[in-house]
């Protein structure tokens, strides 16, 4: 074991390089006192290096006391320290000495800054697992108790996160003490501590004996759930999920449900929001029977809550709620008890609620089946497709595949079209961008004919949008469409229109032609590229705008692999050479880059034998040099190579296992 080997090898190696081993601690001390925070931070981050150099014994005897005593620093440095110490067990000599790490972490767990404290608690939790049961009671539990009865709220807050890790392995007497401490923190004077306790209540309940849960945790839960501060009450809702999972149906009904019902009607919207937000978890935790009796009515109330935030949170859970209902009778419950509320929400006054609804409503199709979808849901979809808020329409369109599976998209196409057209011309470019993303999907579902008739012109219009991101997305969209509909379609509908733009007076549009060619050439294949696209590209080399010219060079480089020797040698090369002499620096640069790529391609075409040896992509392949062939031959070298590349922590973990 690591623990046994550690101490043995420690002093030995320290003795061998005695002069070397003198300075690490000096370096550290010096560096930790540096005025520059960055340097202090760096040295703390290399703490494991120092510890390793010192050996386990001196780390325990010198380094840790030094850290415990002298650290008063910026939070950022403390954070790094707290994190490092979590992985330090091996460096102090293994589990037998893990408790040496407690003092510095204890003081880190009491600092003001939450981030540092949380990290210290995380490390303490990690280290607690490495303690033997005896060491746990001798060192760890006393620390938890000290923190739990600290003067300032920070230490008590930190203590809350440590109960659950030491409880399972403690003796019965100690267990009772731990419960007692937790209890008192749940009714602490400071709301920060009560919040911390409430947020750990569920976690703690899970490690307790069932009787203790019933006798002790439930009353705590009820108290926290009726705290004067809503920030505490809402955390109790979270704990409710864990506690409910532990209790039988009968106990649940008596012990938890009254409180949960109350929470669903709390006067603070934050608490109601939390109930809505955790609804699926609650539903699973309490089981189907209570769901039907209690949760559904509560859900109905949340769906018509007076605060839009709560309604929106509830709406988000509609689909999951319906999915998780028992299959038997599910349809009736949804139709009678959920759908009426959803119908009202379609015309909610708040757009966030409508947006949320539009993002989940389509999910109901598969649950309710074809007939219900056509009769009840379709009218809602249609209404939402006409909603004034573009995000609502967009959410409907983006989930069309759900409908498609159940009833086919044709049912919607009449209403779909105006909605799409309107979104396509929306004033916000992000909305336009979003609708473009769905074009390939729509094209697939609506079919080529419908697409050509109604949507093709939109796709072309986006190419001349005044926002670059839209033009770029439109180009990619064309490529995906060609992949879907084939080259023939491309040749008749897309390519001619794209190529016409090469004569556009606006140079941005002329560039779009080039970008389209870049995107389409591969999908369109050799013939279209060589016969139709290449001439246009070559012609554009004489453009008066330099940006167009260097993009010609880039395009030629891009479509080069699709051309044969004649075209490359006779047409492309001369043009590139001319561009290589251009007065503009950038044009020259890109032309020369293209020339070298084309030249390489030409060489390959001349000596086709080589082609099979080389990889398809030209240029050196860096991965070649690190092939795993070396693994067996020169392990020592390989390992040191590896370790230099790995992150510090990984390497240490590896080393420790090596011990």
């Amino acid at each position: 074991m690591a623990g046994a080997a550690g101490p043995g090898s420690g002093p030995g190696s320290a003795g061998r390089d005695a002069d070397d081993s003198l300075y690490p601690i000096a370096v550290l001390i010096d560096e930790l006192r540096n005025e520059d925070v960055q340097l202090r931070l760096n040295s703390i981050k290399k703490l494991s290096t120092i510890a390793l150099a010192l050996g386990v014994e001196r780390t325990r005897m010198e380094l840790l006391p030094f850290l415990t005593d002298t650290i008063y620093d910026e939070d950022e440095v403390l954070l790094a320290l707290a994190e490092q110490l979590g992985d330090f067990t091996g460096l102090v000599g293994g589990p037998d000495f893990a408790h040496c790490l407690l003092p510095p972490l204890e003081s880190l767990a009491t600092v003001e800054e939450t981030v540092v404290r949380d990290k210290a608690v995380e490390s303490l939790r990690q280290i607690s697992q490495e303690h033997t049961p005896v060491a746990l009671e001798a060192h760890f539990v006393p620390l938890v108790k000290r923190l739990a009865s600290g003067d300032w709220f920070t230490s008590r807050t930190s203590a809350c996160g440590l109960f659950s890790v030491c409880y399972p392995r403690a003796s019965n007497v100690v267990k009772a003490e731990i419960r007692q401490h937790f209890r008192s923190l749940c009714s602490d004077d400071t709301p920060m501590v009560r919040r911390a306790a409430a947020s750990k209540l569920g976690e703690f309940a899970k490690v307790l004996e069932l009787d203790s849960v019933k006798i002790e945790i439930v009353p705590l839960f009820i108290n926290l759930a009726s705290d004067e501060q809503d920030s505490v009450r809402l955390l109790a809702v979270e704990a409710c999920v864990s506690i409910a999972q532990l209790l039988s149906q009968d106990d649940l009904e008596v012990l938890v449900m009254p409180t949960l019902r109350h929470a669903a009607e709390d006067k603070s919207w934050r608490v109601r929001y939390m109930v809505a937000d955790k609804f699926s978890e609650l539903q699973k935790a309490v089981g189907p029977k209570i769901t039907l009796n209690d949760l559904i009515p509560a859900f109905q109330n949340l769906l018509k809550d007076c605060e839009a935030e709560v309604r929106a949170a509830a709406v988000h859970k509609v689909k999951e709620l319906c999915e998780n209902l028992p299959i038997e009778g599910r349809e009736t419950i949804i139709m009678n008890r959920i759908l009426p509320y959803i119908k009202e929400l379609v015309s909610d006054t708040n757009q966030h609620v409508k947006i949320a609804l539009a993002s989940v409503i389509m999910g109901l199709c598969t649950i309710l089946g074809k007939e219900n979808t056509i009769e009840h849901l379709l009218p809602l979809f249609l209404a939402q497709l006409k909603d004034e808020c573009p995000e609502v329409r967009l959410n409907i369109i983006s989930n069309l595949d759900c409908v498609n599976e159940v009833i086919g998209i044709r049912q919607l196409s009449q209403s779909l079209l105006p909605a799409i057209v309107e979104l396509a011309e929306d004033a916000k470019w992000r909305v336009r961008l979003a609708i473009i993303e769905y074009m390939p999907l729509l094209a697939g579902q609506l079919g080529m004919e419908f697409f050509d008739e109604k949507l093709n012109s939109l796709c072309m219009a986006w190419l001349v949008d005044h926002v670059y991101a839209i033009r770029e997305a439109a180009t990619n969209n064309l490529m995906k469409l060609v992949q879907k509909f084939g080259t023939e379609w491309a040749q008749t509908t897309i390519v001619p229109k794209v190529l016409v733009m090469a004569n556009d007076p606006n140079y941005l549009h002329r560039m779009t032609t080039l970008f389209c060619i870049n995107a389409l050439s591969e999908a369109c294949g050799q013939e279209i590229t060589a016969k139709q696209m290449l001439p246009i590209v070559l012609k554009m080399a004489g453009d008066q705008v330099a940006n167009v010219r260097f993009n010609v060079a880039k395009s030629l480089q891009k479509i080069g692999p699709l051309l044969d020797t004649d075209a490359l040698q006779g047409k492309v090369k001369p043009v590139l050479q001319k561009l290589g002499q251009d007065e503009d620096m950038d044009v020259k640069y890109f032309a020369q880059e293209a020339i070298s790529v084309v030249a390489q391609r030409l060489r390959k075409l001349d000596f086709p034998v080589k082609d099979s040896e080389e990889h398809r992509a030209p240029g050196p392949d860096k991965n070649h040099f690190l092939r795993p062939g070396m693994l067996g031959e020169d392990t020592g070298k390989f390992l040191s190579l590896m370790s230099r590349q790995h992150k510090e922590t990984e390497r240490l973990a590896w080393l420790l296992r090596g011990q």
């Binding site: 150099a53 709301p191 809550d305």
Partner: protein, 454 residues
């Protein structure tokens, strides 16, 4: 869930009757017995709430309530002897019913108090009058805290404090005055109020980073601190060090920095021995990337230096001037400029002069450097002036530093190299150890695998 309670059915009828029989002027004119009963009736009437999100509903009733509230305000402020013991319960009930509510979620979740317009409270036409009434009640010469404390208790104050998160600045302004009056009149609630403000601030700093009423609460605290008795209690010092100082880290510092700095300075004026921990605290939280905040910190430091005692100054001059020297050489000219303005302050100048032997060596290198290379001409000009002033304070030291400047720089560079060298050695040492262990592990491993292969 009826958050906004519906009107009782017979409400309109009742109101009409009350108003019809007892018009405004009669309340004051009626005999004292009748007056009292009427007063309470009207208070009860005003407990009914209306939905102001719906601007067309109950227009008539809303108007009646407004008129009634106006009447109540006038009644308590122009008459003496009307706040009798039996009225307190109804008064506090009416106030609570109207102002205590769960604040709605913000319309704009990314609300930036510096940029965006706040959402104003819809029911302001009524709430304003209720606050007005509350203030008149508290300020009335007839008001008796000993009776009121039965109703205005910890729970009441707790709810009042939560309202400080209101987005409506008009409401926060009223709350500020109200809380100040309560703090002044209810001695038994003082410690509780301070503790709750403490909790609100801690939650603001470490949990939510959001609370609209921080500036208002600090303003109240400013005057509370002013009244602290000496010597300061440990509780108050803890509040300064563990709450007010960490508060400087908040993202929205600009919104309440003036009030915060005022509180800090108040503390220092009370007890000068706090100067050192305060300045060290500020240095610990000194902004790293936010130049605007850095300017605010410099402003606060100047305010502190304005009241600092020379003996205290000696204790912190070294770390402080190291920071100032960094600020002076900031490439953000506003930061550099703000720091250089310290040299326009007569008192600070006299402190520097007294301690020139300590301060000049700290400041010299950065001043010397920027005088040569700062991009902003204003800064360069300011630095020249500062250098001149310092030179006049101790010409000999100045000359020494000038001549040793180059050697000093080289020494620093050498130190830098040494550090790199040390780390490299350490890294090698570790690798060596790692390799030793790997090799032994590898030998072990190959030994095992070869035996198993056989």
């Amino acid at each position: 869930m009826a958050v906004k309670p519906a009107l009782p059915k017979d409400y309109h009828a009742e109101k009409r009757v009350l108003n019809g029989i007892l018009p405004k002027t009669q309340v004051a004119d009626a005999t004292s017995n009748e007056q009292q009963e009427l007063f309470c009736q009207k208070l009860q009437q005003c407990c009914v709430l209306f939905d102001f999100m719906d601007s067309v509903s109950d227009l008539k009733s809303k108007e009646i309530k407004r008129a009634t509230l106006n009447e109540l305000v006038e009644y308590v402020s122009t008459n003496r002897g009307v706040i009798v013991e039996s009225a307190y319960s109804d008064i506090v009930k009416m106030i609570s019913a109207n102002i205590f509510r769960i604040l709605p979620p913000s319309d704009n979740p990314d609300f930036d108090p510096e940029e965006d317009e706040p959402t104003l409270e819809a029911s302001w036409p009524h709430i304003q009058l209720v606050y007005d009434f509350f203030l008149r009640f508290l300020e009335s010469p007839d008001f008796q805290p000993s009776i009121a404390k039965r109703y205005i208790d910890q729970k009441f104050v707790q709810q009042l404090l939560e309202l400080f998160d209101s987005e409506d600045p008009r409401e926060r302004d009223f709350l500020k005055t109200v809380l100040h009056r309560i703090y002044g009149k209810f001695l038994g609630l003082r410690a509780f109020i301070r503790k709750q403000i403490n909790n609100i601030f801690l939650r603001f700093i470490y949990e939510t980073e959001h609370f609209n009423g921080v500036a208002e609460l600090l303003e109240i605290l400013g005057s509370i601190i002013n009244g602290f008795a000496l010597p300061l209690k440990a509780e108050h010092k803890q509040f300064l060090m563990k709450v007010l100082i960490p508060m400087h880290t908040a993202k929205g510092l600009a919104l309440f920095h003036a009030q915060l700095a005022y509180c800090v300075v108040q503390f220092l004026e009370k007890d000068t021995t706090l100067t050192e921990p305060v300045i060290r605290g500020l240095l610990k939280f000194w902004p790293k990337t936010c130049s605007q905040k850095e300017v605010m910190f410099l402003g606060e430091i100047e305010e502190i230096l304005d009241v600092i005692e020379p003996t205290q100054f000696k204790k912190i001059e070294e770390p402080l001037f190291k920071q100032i020297s960094k600020c002076v050489s900031s490439s953000h000219f506003q930061v550099a400029e703000r720091a250089l303005y310290f040299w326009n302050n007569e008192y600070i100048l006299s402190l520097i002069e007294e301690n020139i032997d300590k301060i000049l060596p700290i400041m010299f290198a950065s001043l010397y450097k920027i005088s040569k290379e700062h991009w902003n001409q204003t800064i360069v000009a300011l630095v020249y002036n500062v250098l001149k002033t310092l030179m006049e304070m101790n010409g000999k030291l100045f000359d020494d530093l000038t001549s040793s400047y180059k050697a000093e720089r080289q020494r620093e560079k050498k130190k830098e190299l040494e550090r790199e060298e040390l780390w490299k050695k350490l890294e090698e040492l570790k690798l060596k150890k790692a390799l030793e262990k790997q090799n032994s592990a590898y030998n072990m491993h190959s030994l095992l695998s070869s035996t198993s292969a056989e």
